[in-house]
Every structure is written in C-alpha cells, then in structure tokens.
C-alpha cells in the first residue's frame, strides 16, 4: 500500500497569472511522477485547464522530464518559456 506525500507546486509569470496563484500544496502517492503531479493539479484546480498540456517543469531547482519521480517535501515548478537576457 502506497502512502501519500505532500509536494509543493509553484507557478511563475504567465502561469501564475493564469492560475491566479503562485503555489499549491498537494498530496500525491509517494513515487508519483511529475506528470502525475500535473494531473493532480488539473483535478484540483480548474484554472489549470489554461496551462499547456506539457509545460517545462523543474523538480527541486533542476529541469526534469515529466517522468521524474517526486518524494515528500519536493518542490515542483511549472516554467513558462523563459525570456532572460
């Protein structure tokens, strides 16, 4: 049996505006993928329907693919197209 863990999901820039918030804390099964975290975001927050289907994501300050797995206390960030420089 899998226990649920808490992860924090962050929204930035245009995504924060679309979501009307900058962060949400969610419970997901331990070992869930980032893609599954995104599904949970969509199931929890209707505004998430405005996000692209496969946004660029970071896990604990590093870019990751959507099949990366999360652990308790992890920070998942959804990153709009960057425009530094």
């Amino acid at each position: 049996m899998t226990s649920d863990v808490s992860v924090r999901v962050l929204f930035f820039a245009r995504y924060a505006e679309l979501m009307g918030r900058e962060a949400v804390d969610l419970m997901v099964p331990a070992g869930a993928t980032v893609a599954e975290v995104l599904e949970r975001v969509r199931a929890t927050l209707p505004e998430a329907g405005r996000l692209p289907p496969r946004p660029v994501c970071a896990l604990n300050l590093r870019h990751v693919k959507l099949d990366a797995r999360v652990a308790a206390g992890d920070e998942v960030a959804l990153l709009p197209p960057v425009a530094g420089g």
Binding site: F12, A13, R54, R62, K65, P81, V82, G84, G85
Partner: protein, 152 residues
C-alpha cells in the same frame, strides 16, 4: 544573490572580476533593454525569476563553462523594473587566448537565455503589456529538451 541583482549592473566591474595577469583576452557581452520588439515601441519592462533555481542554473552554466575552457567567468542578470537602455545581463570571460574567451562568453549567454528561469514582461508604447515568449514562433520545446544531459 550571486548572479541575480536588483541593482544596476556595472559592466566594468565584471571585466575587473575576470582580469588576471595571465589573461590576454576578455570577451564581454552586455544585453540592454531595446526600445523596440517586433516593431513595437517598448517603454519599460519587468524581469522576474524563480530566484533560487535561477541562481542554481546560473551556477551550473558557469561551472560548465569553467569545465570546458580555461577561463574565468563573471555573470550578472538584473531583475525587477528596467528602463530602455538599462543593462539586463552581462557576461565576461577572460582567458589566455581570445578563442576561449569568445567561446565561453557566447556559451554562457546562450545557455542563460535558454535555461535560466527568468521572465520578461514588456510594457509597450501603445499601452499593451505582454509576457515575452521567445518560443512563440516555433513549436513549444518539449520538457525533454531542457532535461539534464540534453545539452551534451
């Protein structure tokens, strides 16, 4: 903050950071706020960042440059509100020879623009406000393109 700053960037200070008695060549790139974008007049803009990740990503980029070339590197990106002409980013690379200095400087600015989570909101002369999306004219890059190892 090491690489991000809310204060004006002093390009000459970056030159001094990478100057060394064995460095014959320094390549500096300065990115400033243009008064136009895609034909529209720009009044000012705001840079925001996922600050802890932006710092970490800048450090990774600088470390990659140091691992590839025998260089010293300095990097600074400004965040907050900027006016036309303000320096948004500066990269300096010093090396014994100019090839390495140019290559490292170019690498760092390209990777900063590609990977560092910084966003730009432009305020136009016609009153419009827009998040700049450099990928808007190309298919959206899949997350895989930015995953570790994809830059090799």
């Amino acid at each position: 903050m090491t690489y991000l700053t809310r204060d004006p960037i002093d390009a000459a200070a970056l030159l001094a950071e990478v100057a060394a008695r064995g460095h014959g060549g320094i390549s500096l790139f300065v990115g400033a706020v243009r008064d136009h974008q895609d034909g529209r007049g720009v009044i000012r803009l705001e840079y925001s960042a996922y600050e802890p990740m932006a710092e970490a990503e800048c450090r990774r980029i600088v470390d990659e440059a140091l691992g590839r070339w025998p260089v010293a590197v300095a990097l600074r990106h400004r965040i907050g509100e900027l006016a036309v002409g303000d320096v948004a980013v500066a990269v300096a690379a010093g090396s014994a020879h100019r090839d390495e200095a140019f290559a490292a400087c170019r690498y760092v600015i390209e990777e900063v623009k590609r990977r560092v989570p910084i966003w730009k909101k432009e305020f136009y002369a016609d009153g419009h406000v827009e998040w700049v999306d450099p990928t808007a004219r190309r298919p959206e890059a899949p997350a895989a393109a930015l995953a570790p190892g994809a830059n090799a």
